[in-house]
């Protein structure tokens, strides 16, 4: 009978390296996938995923199964991702779709007409996946985490709420606002072309 994540982690705590390998095998892809969607940079995502596993390894002696292993794992990942985004915010060259207009009166006006036209233009220049990725990236950080865990990691509301350290009712509101924003941003894409067959599945373990 397969051991649960908590049992594996308790074995890691007892010094069993093979159990750590099993956890690595199980959560390597979900973590890199989640972090890749969060920070939109593969190299950074891999570094952060490794940092997550390192922190798990370092904390093995103090581990107590007070919550689901995945809750703990993705809380570490979320905190690292948010810190990374904040640390690197000044370095990011990309302009968010919803970035506020410049306060500088001398700055040239941004050519950003209606949202539909913007997304149409993006559809010409980029493929659909990139448009969707950017729409997700344009969400506020907490909404983005909630959507990624809900949609791609298939977590239930109670677990996502624990990762984000908020109530379930607050999470429902958060998710509603996030999907509403995506619905508006992706409306031209959704209704001008039929959706392709699913290509990106979430949690693979």
């Amino acid at each position: 009978m397969a051991r649960t994540d908590v049992e594996l982690m308790l074995d890691v705590k007892a010094g069993d390296g093979q159990s750590f390998d099993l956890l690595l095998e199980k959560y390597r892809s979900p973590l890199v996938n989640f972090l890749g969607r969060m920070v939109h940079d593969r190299a950074t995502a891999e570094d952060l995923a490794q940092e997550v596993f390192l922190r798990v390894f370092r904390a093995r002696k103090q581990y107590t199964p007070s919550a689901k292993f995945t809750t703990w794992l993705f809380r570490i990942a979320t905190n690292l991702a948010l810190n990374s985004l904040r640390d690197n915010r000044h370095q990011r060259m990309e302009v968010s779709i919803d970035a506020p207009a410049s306060d500088d009166e001398n700055a040239p006006p941004r050519e950003l007409p209606a949202k539909d036209a913007r997304i149409d233009q993006q559809m010409i220049e980029q493929d659909r996946a990139e448009v969707i990725r950017r729409a997700v990236l344009s969400l506020p950080e907490k909404q983005r985490v909630a959507v990624l865990l809900h949609k791609y990691e298939e977590m239930d509301y109670s677990e996502i709420a624990k990762v984000l350290e908020c109530s379930e009712s607050a999470l429902k509101s958060l998710l509603f606002r996030a999907y509403e924003s995506l619905r508006v941003q992706l409306a031209p894409l959704v209704f001008t072309q039929p959706a392709a067959s699913p290509a990106g599945k979430g949690r693979q373990a």
Binding site: L24, R28, S29, V32, N33, L35, G36, R37, R42, A45, E46, A49, Q50, F53, L54, F57, R58, R128, A129, I132, R133, V136, V147, H150, K151, Y152, E154, D156, Y157, K172, S173, L175, F176, Y179, L182, R183, L186, A187, L189, V190, F191, A195, A196, P198, A199, G200, K201, G202, Q204
Partner: protein
């Protein structure tokens, strides 16, 4: 169920994670409310469209790099364990600072500057002319010379000739 309540539960319903009771209440409402039904349909399409974004896969060397970092952990663990003890860390830091000061002191203290070259030459000449003092036995036996009875003065002996002193090596 009101439209606002349905909106909040809609994504859990579409994602298949609403409870059986919630699912039934949402479906009852959607059957009776065209606006919410239209909104649910749009949300469902957004949900499907999100699947078009391909997953980000880890690179081939992910595990190898992680194992390298883990292999370097014991020293790091020791270091971080050490710095987590503030008193010990402070003591060692002060000791290190003290050592640095002591090691650097000769360079920074003007009282211990290198001597002038002429002074060094004079000192060297004076020491060179005191060759006899280099012999430890001679130095240690100098005190006994004062106890010797003065030998009769031999007028034929040159004034500057030094008395022969046993060097402790059998006269060799």
């Amino acid at each position: 169920m009101k439209c606002e309540e349905v909106s909040i539960e809609l994504m859990a319903y579409i994602g298949g994670r609403a409870s059986a009771g919630t699912t039934r209440r949402v479906e009852d409402h959607l059957a009776a409310c065209p606006e919410c039904r239209a909104r649910a349909e749009e949300f469902r399409k957004v949900w499907t469209v999100l699947d078009e974004v391909p997953a980000v896969e880890p690179s081939f060397g992910f595990d190898a790099r992680l194992r390298q970092r883990i292999a370097a952990e014991p020293r790091r663990a020791w270091f971080f364990g050490f710095v987590r003890q503030p008193r010990l860390a402070l003591s060692v830091a002060l000791l290190a600072a003290l050592l640095v000061c002591v090691v650097k002191l000769p360079l920074g203290n003007p009282a211990i500057q290198p001597m002038d070259a002429t002074v060094q030459q004079e000192d060297f000449n004076a020491i060179k002319n005191l060759g006899v003092l280099e012999n430890y036995d001679v130095v240690t036996k100098l005190g006994a010379l004062s106890d010797l009875v003065p030998a009769p003065v031999n007028d034929s002996q040159p004034q500057d000739q030094q008395p022969k002193i046993d060097d402790g090596n059998g006269g060799a």
